[in-house]
């Protein structure tokens, strides 16, 4: 049966020289080792701090993080957590970071729209007042909210890192529209823009975001080298934390739960053996 199917398939292949479906897939993301991987993985606090700086100085000019509050930066497991300040709203570092940012508010006396320095209770402000404004400033593309971006993509950390570092010169024969950038890790179908052989359509897609990172673009306070790879790694770690701020708590709880369940299971196994010892079954 199987042999017949294979034979028929081969025959069909020989007879129909029809074009193969040209759906291209993006390049497989780089597989990096992350500190937060695995059942015992933890975030690297220094990396999260650097990553926040990259987000604040680079990404935040276009990307909102609507689910994030400044207080989150100082909560347990966060980049600026300090044991002296169990209430993150009191954390002076968080307060100072918040105060660097202006947020919109309403003057309670006059009702006028005003701007004031953010407090730790404030949400990260959006760079654009609305979606239309965001699209207008970005050639029609909407910069996605980054709050849960890592959970919202397959193989999130590796994907985000690969897109950030993966910009490449378009291969000759690929027409790139103005305001578009070729990225082999970004999903898309380039067949319509490809002049060459339809069996070798380049992998990847067009992204509306210009290469955001650059050597020396962010100065790290801890002296870490400001390379594109370093910036991409750090901001990815920060975004992973932002997507799953309770990850460390979850894994720690999980370890205790697993030990408890294992002991309980062993206990039940011996109870089972003992209770059934006189029953032939």
């Amino acid at each position: 049966m199987l042999r017949k199917v294979i034979a028929l398939a081969a025959l069909g292949l020989a007879l129909t020289a029809g074009p193969a479906a040209a759906a291209t897939h993006p390049e497989h993301p780089h597989q990096l080792g992350w500190s937060f991987q695995g059942p015992f993985g933890k975030f690297d606090k220094a990396q999260l701090q650097r990553g926040y700086k990259v987000y604040r100085e680079v990404c935040a000019s276009c990307h909102a993080m609507n689910l994030m509050y400044f207080r989150n930066l100082g909560q347990k497991g966060g980049p600026f957590f300090d044991e002296k300040y169990p209430n993150p709203n009191d954390n002076p570092y968080v307060k100072a970071l918040a105060a660097e940012i202006q947020v919109n508010d309403i003057d309670s006396e006059t009702g006028d729209t005003i701007q004031r320095p953010a407090t730790s209770a404030d949400r990260f402000p959006s760079p654009f007042p609305n979606e239309a404004a965001a699209r207008a400033s970005n050639g029609g593309a909407m910069p996605p909210d980054l709050s849960v971006i890592i959970k919202a993509r397959h193989d999130g950390p590796n994907y985000v890192y690969s897109v950030l570092t993966g910009y490449a010169n378009p291969p000759p024969g690929l027409t790139v529209a103005p305001g578009q950038f070729y990225n082999p890790y970004y999903p898309g179908d380039l067949a319509a823009y490809w002049k060459g052989d339809h069996h070798s359509v380049p992998k990847g897609g067009f992204i509306g975001m210009p290469p955001p990172l650059g050597t020396g673009k962010v100065t790290f306070d801890d002296g870490a080298p400001s390379t594109v790879a370093q910036q991409a790694k750090d901001v990815t770690a920060f975004l992973t934390w932002a997507s799953e701020p309770k990850m460390e708590e979850r894994k720690a709880f999980g370890l205790a739960a697993m030990i408890y369940l294992l002991l309980f299971t062993v206990l039940l196994w011996f109870s089972y053996k003992r209770i059934w010892r006189n029953v032939a079954h």
Binding site: A9, G12, R250
Partner: protein, 439 residues
């Protein structure tokens, strides 16, 4: 519940209660003394696992409902707020989301165990039909629940599934509008789906009570598929099966915990962490894994109405299964031919699930183009789904009816104790039996 009650009220209060509402007697007879075949294997522990999972889902669900906001503008953010700002909200939400998958893993094993050991046959037809009702309610509940986070898959999945009703002639459009509460999937849809998602689990709990009642009248089937003959064949439910089920439940919870704590999002789709946007359709709309076999059957039919009918037919056929299977021998241990067809059936279900996750026109063997058959290349997932779906239905409407009349079953042991005493869990060579005495 059935047979003679051995409950003896010991205290004054128990005697008082027993005269008025014999609820303690009922609990005693169902959960303590209930005579249970002593040869039940681990496949029988999934009933207890399912009961526990139902409780887990209801308890976590009630807590989630305290924090969730059923509104298109707030639903997504409220779910994330549960994960970020509610104490142990991440635990409750991940338990609920992964608990649904665990529930389906357990129910599928429970159903396959039933099919293999012929538990649906007389006198357990009503028990089986109640189980099918529970399964239908579970699917409805799971679908409604997946809508609530209001991510991209929630929204577009809802559009696809609710549009299925639109395929019905004449009334289709009216039904769809009625389901939506408007002319598109929108806030009224989310609101009513939340309401129904809260209602259905309690209906499931009600049918589960009937299911257990219907189990306790004829009693458990068992791996030999023969009736209990004497007291020798059974042990009281407690402590024998409370401890065995307890052990299996604890093992199952280790699996459950490994998802909740270490891979909480692996069974979900990343697109559901993108807030719903009616204007952007995901490239690839796929349901949760437990619906994939039915999704494959739906897409296997080129006609929309035909696909819908066949998909519901795949569940409908289960309801009449007790009357389709003509074999009087329950357990497939004694039906070697049927066992082979059963294994292929399990394989067909897995293949359907695999096809459901793939694009219909993609080749099964990459890079090979065979020839166009009707509407698609033969080397495509749509044709693989058709083959597997054909087998799925053939198993119920052709193989089981015919096989029961033509096959020669192996000799069935006389009693549960007979083979048990000589050699555990296998048929003794000298077991006396004749297929004529089957049942």
């Amino acid at each position: 519940m059935s047979g003679h009650s051995t409950y003896e009220p010991k205290t004054g209060f128990e005697r008082w209660m027993d005269m008025r509402l014999p609820i303690l007697r009922m609990a005693h007879d169902t959960a303590i003394t209930f005579p249970t075949p002593k040869n039940l294997n681990y496949w029988w522990t999934f009933g207890g696992i399912l009961a526990v999972m139902l409780v887990v889902q209801i308890v976590t669900g009630i807590v989630l409902a305290m924090h969730y906001v059923p509104h298109v503008d707030y639903a997504f953010a409220s779910v994330e707020r549960i994960m970020r700002d509610v104490n142990y909200g991440w635990l409750v939400r991940y338990m609920h989301a992964n608990g649904a998958s665990m529930f389906f893993i357990a129910v599928y094993i429970h159903i396959f165990r039933n099919l293999y050991y012929g538990s649906y046959k007389a006198p357990r037809e009503v028990l089986w039909i109640l189980g099918c009702v529970i399964y239908l309610l579970m699917m409805a509940t799971a679908f409604l629940g997946y809508v609530l986070p209001w991510g991209q898959m929630s929204f577009h999945g809802t559009v696809v599934i609710t549009n299925l009703f639109g395929a019905l002639p004449i009334v289709g459009e009216a039904i769809t509008t009625w389901l939506w509460g408007g002319f598109a999937v929108d806030n009224p849809t989310l609101n009513r789906f939340f309401s129904l998602h809260y209602l259905l689990p309690f209906m499931i709990a009600g049918v589960v009570a009937l299911h257990i009642w219907a189990l306790h009248v004829p009693g458990n089937n068992n791996p030999l598929g023969i009736n209990v003959k004497s007291k020798e064949d059974t042990v009281p439910f407690h402590p024998y099966y409370t401890v065995k089920d307890g052990f299996a439940i604890a093992l199952f919870f280790i699996l459950f915990a490994s998802f909740v704590f270490y891979n909480p999002n692996i069974l979900g789709h990343p697109d559901n962490y993108v807030p719903a946007n009616p204007l952007v359709t995901p490239t690839h709309i796929v349901p949760e894994w437990y619906f994939l076999p039915f999704y494959a059957i739906l897409r296997a039919v080129p006609d929309k109405l035909g696909g819908v009918l066949l998909m519901f037919g795949a569940i409908g056929v289960l309801f009449v299964l007790p009357w389709l299977d003509t074999s009087k021998v329950r357990s497939m241990r004694y039906r070697p031919t049927a066992r082979l067809y059963f294994l292929i059936f399990v394989l067909a279900c897995l293949v359907l699930g695999y096809c459901g996750a793939k694009l219909p026109d993609d080749p099964v063997i990459p890079g090979v183009t065979s020839f166009q058959l009707v509407d698609a290349d033969l080397n495509s997932f749509v044709w693989l789904s058709r083959i597997a779906a054909a087998y799925y239905f053939a198993y119920f409407v052709l193989i089981l009816p015919i096989l029961g009349l033509t096959e020669t079953p192996l000799p069935v042991p006389d009693s549960i104790s007979a083979p048990v005493l000589s050699h555990p869990a296998t048929t003794p060579a000298g077991a006396v039996a004749s297929p004529e005495k089957r049942g």
